[in-house]
């Protein structure tokens, strides 16, 4: 797990995400650019009208993975601060499920970092979405996180 060297925010919340507070946190006089991503509940999925969503997470691991993403952003890009929040529980149409804000002195770094963050979050953070429709509910199609194929020094199973 990455140690938080930087003044970042990574959080899982059950109440509405406080988007303004996250932007405020990353915004500093030495910056000039902030990109944000706001992911929120669409009113339909594959042309079926969505009623609402439930999000669940492997909370301790999800937080650790979110902190890893923030740490990676600092390694890869010349950015200043990162805020990543994901909401859990029941979400209605239009409610924000994930919000990411990245500040930087120059826009290119903030931009690339913001995209890397949301793409990596969707691929590696253990959170699951169940979609509720008039006629039933399904677990959303997801992405299989990349996991080691074999333990480097695994003893053969007896």
């Amino acid at each position: 797990m990455a140690t938080p060297l930087h003044d970042d925010i990574c959080q899982l919340v059950r109440d509405p995400i406080n988007v303004a507070a996250l932007v405020h946190h990353v915004r500093a006089p030495e910056d000039g650019a902030i990109f944000t991503f706001d992911g929120f509940v669409r009113n339909q999925s594959h042309s079926r009208a969505t009623l609402y969503l439930d999000y669940e997470a492997y909370e301790t691991m999800a937080l650790a993975k979110m902190r890893e993403i923030a740490a990676q952003l600092h390694e890869k890009y010349k950015i200043h601060r990162v805020a990543i929040a994901h909401r859990l529980g029941r979400l209605q149409i239009g409610e924000t499920s994930v919000f990411i804000a990245v500040s930087a002195p120059h826009r290119a770094a903030a931009f690339d970092a913001c995209r890397f963050a949301i793409d990596t979050l969707k691929r590696t953070v253990p959170i699951w979405k169940k979609e509720y429709f008039e006629d039933g509910a399904v677990w959303a199609d997801g992405e299989l996180p990349p996991a080691p194929a074999a333990t480097p020094h695994a003893k053969p199973a007896s």
Binding site: E56, P126, W128, P145, A147, A157
Partner: protein
Amino acid sequence: MATVSQSISLKVLFFGRLKEIVGHAEESLASTDAATIEQLFALYAARHPELAKFRPSLVASRNQEFAAWDTPLHTGDEVAFLPPVSGG
């Protein structure tokens, strides 16, 4: 070379549709037959045959890190079986 099987205590977590199949999110297990994550999964697949078909579309974690299926387990480990993630 024969290995003496010892009983190890594990915390095992299920998420998403796996939780619905198993019927709960979390359990404690003491077993002599779970030397690796793969073997642990096999124990549950024996109890809940529907689990087996999800095996190709799962990843596993050990102590909150993604882990290979051949990862050896030790007492006190927390193992989770994770369907494709769909956060965001």
